[in-house]
């Protein structure tokens, strides 16, 4: 059997851990197994590499190392940031502002708080997926304690006006949390300049390992603990450190920010070539998200008359890994809340395809995807009653 060609274009789902990252992790799984909280020499070495990784994360974000707390990933960081700030500041107010297009790690967390008596405002987004600063200003009340708006959207890649949000929040004395899980390594981030109070990140989105992330908490932010137990992470996040994972995170984030501009230029050029190819070869498509202010590797396209899961299954047949906002892959029957929030009709949302490119993609990958995508779309359209009706209306196409 010949090896099937695999073209991976789902980097917003996860990335392959870089070899360099794996190499620095391995010693800390077996040889350097010491618990950083212990006293003897091998434990001190574990402690030392954890602190080196912390310095790397701090440097990537423009923060102080004491403001970085390691977690199990983006979901824990989002939960901690939102619930921790909500409960620690309840006396001040019970109002939280977020957006309609957040990741479920944020949306389901604020929905939980809503059931606990907090009031939540979900800011709408425009057709590109950006919130409007005027909407934010208008939503703020005397009871507002937290604004949680993502840095960049995982589905449509739209980058939010983070600097303006930070400015508004700082002026009003409201904490600003941002889920930057998709942004690290793709967008320059300086938490001081952007006036961010809390920021979530996850290693496996930038060629690091799964199961490890971090939360940046600006010094002075009032926040409750989320995991209670031992005194790790300066008594704020209990649990023996995932040393190998943290070392991997430290290495991955250093690589992610060190050659960011050059890598992103290359990835974006590949992404733009796929987009141009699709627009040239395939009629009845629309680009979802912002035309410019979007993640360099993100492409989200809706194909009229066909459904996303079918597209994925046929692409998978050719070894192409992608994703969709159609209901049929989400475990519910509703299409993506993000695509509905930017105003797409449900049937257009059902026909969406997300390709997210990354550093190992090549020009050959782009050619391969373009070649097969056209076939896949045509094949599904030939099967579709919606397309048949369309052809009756426009018989000469």
């Amino acid at each position: 059997m010949t090896a099937k060609r695999i073209v991976y274009m789902d980097h917003s789902a996860t990335t392959a851990t870089a070899q360099e990252v794996v190499d620095v992790m391995v010693p800390w799984i077996r040889k350097g197994f010491g618990n950083p909280s212990s006293l003897y020499s091998i434990a001190r070495e574990s402690k030392k590499v954890v602190e080196e990784a912390r310095a790397n994360v701090a440097s990537a974000l423009g923060s102080h190392p004491d403001e970085i707390y390691f977690t199990s990933g983006g979901t824990e960081s989002d939960n901690w940031a939102i619930k921790g700030v909500a409960y620690a500041n309840r006396k001040k107010g019970n109002h939280i502002i977020t957006s309609a297009i957040e990741h479920h790690a944020v949306l389901h967390t604020v929905e939980y708080l809503e059931r606990q008596g907090f009031e939540i405002t979900y800011l709408p987004v425009d057709e590109t997926g950006q919130i409007r600063i005027d909407d934010l200003k208008a939503a703020i009340t005397e009871k507002t304690i937290l604004v949680s708006i993502m840095f960049a959207n995982n589905e449509i890649g739209t980058i939010e006006p983070v600097a303006e949000i930070g400015k508004v929040c700082r002026e009003r004395g409201i904490y600003f949390h941002t889920d930057a899980v998709q942004a690290i390594g793709n967008v320059p981030i300086d938490v001081q300049a952007l006036q961010i109070d809390l920021l979530s990140l996850s290693a496996h989105k930038f060629y690091g390992p799964k199961g490890v992330g971090a939360l940046y908490i600006r010094k002075g932010v009032r926040i409750d603990n989320f995991l209670h137990g031992g005194g790790q992470e300066r008594r704020k996040r209990a649990g023996t450190e995932n040393v190998a994972g943290i070392v991997g995170l430290g290495c991955a984030i250093e690589m992610a920010v060190s050659d960011m501009d050059e890598r992103n230029r290359r990835v974006q050029a590949l992404r733009d070539r796929i987009l141009a190819g699709i627009l040239e070869q395939i009629p009845y498509v629309r680009l979802n998200g912002h035309p410019e202010k979007r993640l360099p590797g993100n492409l989200n396209i809706s194909f009229d008359f066909i459904e996303g899961e079918s597209i994925l299954l046929l692409l998978d047949h050719f070894g192409i890994c992608a994703s969709t906002g159609s209901a049929c892959t989400s475990g519910t029957l509703e299409p993506s809340h993000v695509l509905l929030a930017i105003g797409l009709p449900a049937e257009t949302a059902h026909g969406s395809l997300r390709l997210t490119l990354g550093q190992e993609n090549t020009d050959e990958d782009v050619d391969y995807v373009l070649m097969h995508l056209q076939t896949v779309v045509q094949r599904l359209r030939e099967m579709s009653p919606l397309y048949a009706d369309h052809l009756k209306r426009v018989p000469h196409v």
Binding site: F305, E307, L313, S326, C328, A346, M383, S384, L386
Partner: protein, 143 residues
């Protein structure tokens, strides 16, 4: 996620297409739900001599359409009417719980096509025994 049988019918759909002078046509589903199924029948002497389908939908919707057309081809209208969504799902070696509504769609599509034929021929349409809603029907067990 899908059985080999579902993938086979999705990758190689049977009876895909349309019949321009069909004796009965059924259409079920809607674009908001993410699936539409259209079934075309040719009927001679109460027997379904030809059947075609067009489907907008997921892998399970396409496979259910394809399997349903196989199950009713060559059958009498009474036999075809009695093909249930469970029969379609079983013939596909099972569907994930969240996708069972696709097999319901196939059953309803057949029923609509048969009743379209009956109405066109001056006959009373048959009544649905157990009207099922296929859209936004969330099963108890979601994997």
């Amino acid at each position: 996620m899908y059985s080999e049988k579902v993938m086979d019918h999705f990758m190689n759909p049977r009876n895909q297409g349309d019949i321009s002078d069909a004796d009965g046509v059924g259409e079920v589903g809607n674009p908001t739900c993410g699936d539409i199924m259209r079934i075309f029948l040719t009927v001679k002497d109460n027997i379904i001599t030809d059947v075609k389908f067009q489907t907008f939908g997921c892998g399970a919707a396409v496979a259910s359409s394809s399997m349903a057309t196989e199950l009713i081809k060559g059958k009498t209208l009474e036999e075809a009417w009695d093909v249930t969504n469970m029969a379609v799902a079983e013939a596909l070696e099972g569907l994930p719980p969240i996708k069972m509504h696709c097999s319901v769609l196939a059953e309803e599509g057949i029923h609509q096509a048969i009743n379209d034929y009956r109405i066109k021929n001056g006959l009373e349409p048959w009544e649905e025994k157990n009207p099922k809603s296929h859209c936004h029907e969330i099963p108890d067990t979601v994997s």
